[in-house]
Symmetry: D3
Subunit: 316 residues, 6 copies
C-alpha cells in the first residue's frame, strides 16, 4: 500500500488506498449498470470501470470518498487504466489523511508563510501594508490550501500561495534590475492579485467554480475585499494610494478580453500582468515537459494557444 498510482507498471497487480475523484453511473448496451470511476493520489490519476454495480455500490462509491482498490494496470487505447478486481470503502476511523491523495505545492505552508512575511515587511507604504496584512490574516487558511485554478496552471493544493510566491520572487528580481519600479506597490499587488480565488473556487479537492465565482469573478471579489479592508482599517478610500492598489488587482489580466474591467494604466500594473503570464506559462510548460521523453513533444497545451513543446535531448 505504499506504492503510488504512477509507480505501478502496466500488467502489474495493484492494491492501493486512493481518493475516488469522480464516479459516474452508466449502463451497458445490454442494459447493465456499471460505475465509471477515476482514482487519484499525489502521483496522478487512473480510470477504471466497476462492472455490474449494485445499488449499494452506487450509494457507497461516490466522488470524494476514499477506497481501497485492488486490480491490474492495463493499457486501453494507449492510456493506462485499471481492471478492477475489488473496491472497499475506507472509513475515517482507519486513519488516512486527505493530503495523501492530493498533489500539493513543493514548498511547505510554513516556508511559504515565512518567506511572504519577509516580503510584506518591504511594503513600506502604510496603506498597502495594512491592507495586505489584513487580508492575508483573514484568508490565511484558504490562501495556503487553495489551488490557483480549476484546471490550467497550479491546479494543486496550495497552488494559489505557491503561484503567488513565485511571482513575488520575480517581482523582487525585476525590481532590483529596474529601480524605476515602485517595489512596495508591485509586491502588494502581486500578493493580493489572485486572493479572490478563495471565494471564486470551492477548495483544493474536486475544485469547481462557486455560483459567486461565476456571477462576480475573482477580480471583482478581491477588489471588494480590499474595499472592506479599507473600511475596517479606516483607510481613506479617496486617496491615490488606495486607488492605485485597487487598479493593480483590477487590471492584472492585462486585456479586457481576459476579464479585467480596465487595462493596466500603471507601469507596475503592466509588470504584474507580465510576471503573472511568465510564472503561469513556466508552470504549464514544466509540468508538460516533465511527462515527456527527450526528443519528443508534449501534448498540446490549451492555455498556451494549443502549442506543443519540444523536449531536446541536448548533448550537454
Amino acid at each position: 500500500m505504499l506504492k503510488k498510482i504512477s509507480e505501478y507498471n502496466v500488467d502489474e497487480e495493484m492494491d492501493i488506498v486512493v481518493l475516488l475523484k469522480h464516479a459516474d453511473v452508466r449502463t451497458t448496451k445490454t442494459g447493465k449498470q456499471y460505475l465509471a470511476l477515476t482514482f487519484e493520489d499525489t502521483s496522478g490519476q487512473i480510470r477504471g470501470n466497476f462492472w455490474d454495480a449494485s445499488s449499494t455500490d452506487v450509494d457507497n462509491y461516490q466522488s470524494g470518498t476514499v477506497v481501497e482498490l485492488s486490480g491490474k494496470k492495463e493499457l486501453y487505447q494507449n492510456t493506462p487504466q485499471v481492471k478492477i478486481y475489488g473496491l472497499r470503502l475506507v472509513g475515517e476511523e482507519e486513519g488516512f489523511d486527505m493530503s495523501q491523495f492530493v498533489k500539493a505545492a513543493p514548498i511547505s505552508v510554513e516556508d511559504m508563510q515565512a518567506e511572504l512575511n519577509k516580503d510584506v515587511f518591504e511594503i513600506t507604504n502604510p496603506t498597502w501594508n495594512r491592507i495586505v496584512r489584513f487580508l492575508l490574516q483573514k484568508y490565511q487558511i484558504n490562501f495556503y490550501s487553495y489551488p490557483a485554478a480549476k484546471t490550467n496552471h497550479h491546479a494543486i493544493k496550495g497552488g494559489l500561495a505557491f503561484h503567488t510566491l513565485s511571482m513575488v520572487r520575480l517581482a523582487q528580481s525585476i525590481s532590483a534590475l529596474y529601480p524605476q519600479l515602485n517595489k512596495p506597490l508591485l509586491l502588494a499587488g502581486t500578493i493580493l492579485h489572485d486572493l479572490g480565488k478563495t471565494i471564486e473556487l470551492t477548495g483544493p479537492v474536486g475544485t469547481e467554480y462557486t455560483v459567486t465565482g461565476n456571477l462576480i469573478g475573482h477580480i471583482v471579489l478581491i477588489d471588494e475585499e480590499i474595499i472592506k479592508a479599507a473600511t475596517e482599517l479606516k483607510i481613506d478610500e479617496q486617496s491615490e494610494d488606495f486607488l492605485v492598489l485597487r487598479h493593480m488587482v483590477l487590471s492584472h489580466h492585462g486585456l479586457q478580453e481576459y476579464g479585467s474591467p480596465v487595462r493596466p494604466a500603471l507601469m507596475e500594473a503592466d509588470v504584474l500582468h507580465e510576471i503573472d503570464m511568465l510564472d503561469a506559462s513556466l508552470y504549464m510548460m514544466t509540468e508538460a515537459l516533465d511527462k515527456t521523453t527527450p526528443g519528443q513533444y508534449t501534448d498540446r497545451i490549451f492555455a498556451l494557444d494549443n502549442r506543443r513543446f519540444y523536449k531536446p535531448k541536448l548533448s550537454e
Copy 2:
C-alpha cells in the same frame, strides 16, 4: 441677446452671451499670441480666433467662463466660424444661469424623478428595492444632472437619468411581452447600471474622466456602491438575490472586450445589455439624422462602427 448660436445666419452679426467651452493659447507663424476659442449654448457650438491676445486676455478667457461675444458668423472650410470683434467677461453678479448654455435632456428632472419613482414601486423584491432606493437617494443630485458619456451618446446635462429612463420604459414594454422575464430584477439592474458614471465623470460641464474613473471604471464603481449599500442596510451579502443584482450591473457591457468583467449569465442581464445598446444607438442615430437633410447621409458615427445613415425623403 435672446438668439441662440445656431439661429444666426452666415454673414449675420452676433451679440450673444455664451459659455467659453475651450480656450487654447497659440502663436501665429509670425510669432504673435492668439486664443483659439470654442463657444457653446444649448443650441450648439461655434469656434473663433481672438487675435493679438494680451496676457490679461489669456488670464481672463479660460475654459468654463461665461462671456459676451460680438462678431460675425462666417464660413471657413464649409464650417461656420465666428470672426470676433470683441469679448467681455460676464460675472455671476450679472445673473446668468449656467443651464442657459448647456444642452439638457428633453424631460424635466421632476418628471423623470416622478416616473422613476413609480418604476421603483414595481421592484417588489425587498433586497433590490431597498438598494435601489438607497442609491437613488444618495446620488440624486448627480444622477439627474450628469451626462451618460463624455462624447458618445446622451452627452448632455441630465443625459444619465434620461438614458436610464428610456431604458426603463423599454424594460417595461419588453417585460410585458415576455412574461418569463423577472421584471423587478430587470428594472433594478436598469436603474442602477450606469450610476457609477457619477463617480467616473467630472460633471455636466466640460465633462472629463476622473482619475478614479480611469483607474477603476464605472462598472466596478457602481458594484462597490451596491456592496456599501448592502452593508449599510444590513442585507445578506451571500444571498442569491444580492449576487444576481451585482451580476446585472457587472455584466451590462455584454462583452468582456467592452469592460464587463463577466459576460451576462442571466436572461435579464442579457436583456439589460441589449436595451442599453438599443437606446444608445437610437439616440446617436436620431441626433445625427436631425442635422441631416432628407436625401442625404449623416456623418460617420464612430460608436456605430463608423457607419453613415441615410435620411429618406419618402413619399409619405
Copy 3:
C-alpha cells in the same frame, strides 16, 4: 397512448405512437445489423437502438414514418434512452395527425393571422402595404407552418410566423417609445424580413436547407420576391419608398459577416436587426432555462457565443 415522451419516468415502461425522426443502419463490432433511432413527439425526443434488425425492418423504419413504440425508459450516460421491446408501423389509415408529433408555436395560426392583419393595417404607405399584403397572401400556408430555423431558435412548426409576430410586437412597443421611428417602414420590414425562409428551408418536418437555400440564401430570396411583387403590382422600382423596403430586408442580419450584403444604413433597419437579435436570444434562453433546475446552469448555447445561463432560485 395519451402520455407524451417527456412525461415518462426513468424505468417506466412506454407504449406510445411517435414520429421516427432519424433512422441510421449500423453494424455491431460482431457484425450484426441494428437501427439507431430517434423518436419525437411534441414534448421532445428520445433515442434508442433496435437490435438485430432484419432487411424488412430496415426498409420499414425510415425517417419520417410514424410508429408504435413499446419499451422502457432508461438512463445511458445521464441521458434518457428507450430500451426497445417492439416497433410497429402506423399507417395513415389509423388516423393520426402529423401535428401530434411536431412541436408547434404556442399561438394558433388563426390568432397569429388575425393579429398580423391588424398590424398590416398600420402600414399606411401604399408601396409597402401592397407588397406586404401580396407576399403574405402568396406564402400564407408556408409562412404559418415553417420553422424560423433548422436548429437554432424557433425551430418549431409555425416558428417563422411566431418569431415574426413577437418581433412585430416589439416593433410596436418601440415605435411608441421612439416616435422618431417610421413605424410603417419598421412593421413592413419586420413582417417580410425572414419570409425567404419558406424557400430556403424544406418545411416544418425534418427541416433541411434546400439547394436554392444554400446557393442563394434567404436574404436574397426575399429581396427577389419583393422585386417580383413590385413588377406584378406595377410599383415604381426606382422610387425611394421601394428601395428603402428592400434595404430593410437586405441589411437585417446587421453585419456582412452574418450574410447581409449591406450593413443597416437606415435607423429603422438598425432597429429591425436589434429586435431580431432580442427575440431570437430570448427564445433560446427561455427554452434552455425551461429545461434547467433552479440553482443550476443551462447547457452551453452555441448561437449565444457558447454561454451558459444561470437559473436563479430567488427568494421571491
Copy 4:
C-alpha cells in the same frame, strides 16, 4: 495647349485646357474668399488655389466644367501644385471632347467588344449564353464606359469592361490548365460579376455611389438583373443551371465580410473570386509601381493591406 498636366516640369509656365474636377470655396484667416481647385486630364491631376475669388468666379468655376488654365507649376510640400495666373471657362461650342480629360482603358471599346463576343460564343449552355447576351446588350453603353470602382482599382473610363476582359483572359488560361473547370460557367460568371456597378455608380466622370448603390449594393443589383432577364427570356428560374449562375455572381466577393451574402460553394465560384483578386491587385501594384523610381518603394496601397511595394533596379 497640346501638352498634358504631367508633362510640365516644376517652374514651367502652363497654358492648358483641363477638366475642373473639384472646386471648394474657402476663406483665408484674414477673411478673404478663395477657390481650392483640382484640375485633371488623362495624364493626371494637379491642385491650385485661386485667390480673391469674386462671387462670379464662384458661380463659374464649378466641379465638372472645362477651363483654360494659365499659371506656373511649383512644388508645395514635395507635391506639384499650380500657382494660378488666370482661369477662363471653355464653352462646349469651342469643340472639346470630354474624353480628352478622363483617363481611359488602354484598349478601345471596339476591340474589347470584339474579344468578349468571341468569349460569349464559348458559353455553350443556352441558359447562361442567353442571359449574358441579353445583359451585355441591355447595358452595352455603360458597361464599356463605366469605371470598375470609385477609387481603388480600374477607376478609369472603360475600367469596368477592361477589368472584366482581363479576368476573362485569366479564366480562359486557367480553364485550359484545369480541365475539371466548367469553362462556360466560369466565363458567364466572370462577364456578369461586376455589371451591377453600372447601377451602383454614377458614371465615368466624378464617380460617386448612387443611393441605390449604397442601399442595395452591386452584388444584389446584378442578381436582380439576371432574374429579370430570365423572366423576359422565359428561362426556368428553378433550374439548377439558373441557380448556379446566380450563385457565381452572389458569391464573387469570396467572404461575407466583403459583402457576398453567400460564400463560394462551387469550384468555379471560388476561382472567379480568386481571379478577381488577382487582376485587381495586379492593376493596383502596376499603377503604383509605374509612378515609382527603381530602387524605391511605392506609397502604401490601402486596398492591399496598406503594403508598400519595392521596385527593383535589377541587373537585367
Copy 5:
C-alpha cells in the same frame, strides 16, 4: 489480387496485398488485445480490427509493412470497413514495389522533369538560373518523390513537383497576360518556393514533420539552401538580384500569420502567393468533388475555411 481497395463492393470478399498504414494496439472492455488497422493502396484506404491479436501479431503487423489481407468489405456507421479473416506479412523477397500502394502524381517524373527543364531555360537572369539549376540538381530525387504536404493538398507521392509544375504553368500563362511581370523572377521563385519541404517532411510514405521541420520550417530551410548555393556558386550575396529571389520564397505564404517572416513587397512575390493559393485550392476542391455524387455536397474542407462545395448536375 489485381483489384484495388476502392474497387470492392460492400459485402464482397477481399484478398489483396496492401500497405499497413497505421497499426494501434488496443484492448476490449473485457480485457482482450486487438489491433486497429488502416490499409492503403493507390485507390484509397480502409480500416479494420484484427481481434485477439497475439504478441507475435503485434510485433509483425506494424505501420509501414506490406500485408496480404483477406476479409469482407462491410459498412460500419456508413463507412466501409473490412471484417478481417486473415493477415499475412509479405516480404520484400516476394517482389512488390512500394509505389503499388501509394497514390502518385498523374504525370510521370520524366515528363515533369522535361517540362520544368524547359521552364528553367527561360530564367534568363544568371543569378536566378544558376541557383535554380543548382538546387534542382541537389534535391532532384526528393523533389520528384515528396508530397507537397502531410495532409492538406497534393499529399501524394510526387505531389511536391506536381504542385510546383502546375504553378509554373499558371506563372507562364499569367506572365503572358501581364507583361509588366518579371517572368524569370516569377519562374525562379515558383520553382524554389516549396523545395524546403524535402527537409521539413520525412518522405512520401507515412509523411510526418521532421524535428528540423518543426523547429525551423520549410520557408527558412529553403532560404538557407539558397544562401548556401550562392556561397558555393560565388554569387554576390549583396546584389539586389539575390535579395529579391530570397524575398520571393520568404514571403510566399502571403501573411505573417501563415508563417512568412515578411509580407510580399514585390509584385512577383504577391503573384507567387496568389497562384500558390489558386493551385492548392483547385487541388483540394477537385479531390473532394471527385468523391461526390452530382447534386450533393462534398465533406467540409478544413483548409478552405471548412466550406462544403456543391457538385452541380447541370443540364449540359
Copy 6:
C-alpha cells in the same frame, strides 16, 4: 554653448551647437521658400522654421549636418519650438564629436562589453558558446553602437547592446528562480536574438531600414549569420544543439503575426520572447513617464496598444 536643448526655458534666448536631424524645403501660401527644421542633441529635439531661405541655405542646411543655432524658445500649440534668429554650418575642423548630439545608452560600451563577456563564460555548451563568441566578435562595432529599433524602444545609440544586456540580466535572474530552464541556451539565444538589426537598420544616426532589412527582416538575417558561423567553425549543422539555437532566434517574436516564421516550441524560446516584451515595455513606459508630471497621463504609446499610463503622485 554648454546648455542642452531641453535645459532652455520658454522665452529664453538660445545659442547652441546641435545636429540638424531633418530639413524639409517648403513654400508659404504666398510663394516664398522656407526650411522646416528639426534640431537634436542628447537632451531631446526641437523644431523651428527658417524663413526666406535662399538656394544657398537650402544647399547648406541638410539633414545630418551640425549647425550653430541662435534663436528663442517659444510655445506653439503647447509644444516648444525655436524662433530662429540665425544659423551657421559648423565644420568638422571645429572639432565636435557626433556623440554630443545623439542620445546614448546609460552604460558605457566598455562596461556593457565586460558584463556580457562574463555572461558568455556561462554558456557552457561549446556549440552555442563558439557561435556567440564568433558573432559578437564579427559585429562588435555595430552591436555596441546601433539602436534596437527605428522608433519604438531603445531607439538610441548603443540601444541594441543595452536592450540585450537588460534582457541578459533578466535571463540570469529568472534562470536562478526556475532551475528547470537551460540557462546556457537562454543566454545564447538572448545575446543573439536581435543581432540581425545591425544589417536591418542603417546605423545609429538617422536610422532607417535598409533594403535588405525590408526584404529579408532581422530574424532571418541573424539566422543566416548563425548558419554561416557554423560553416566557418565546422559545427555540425544537423545536431540538435545547433537546431535549438536557431529556433531560439527564429521564434523570438512569439507570434507569427509579429514576423516569427515559427512559434516558440522550446520552454527557453517562450521565456526569451517574454523577457523581450518585458524589457521593451519597461523601456517605453519609463521613457514616457519620465516626461510626465505626477498626477498626469503619458501620451498614448502606439507600441503598447495605444495605452496611456498614469504617473501617481503617491504619498510615499
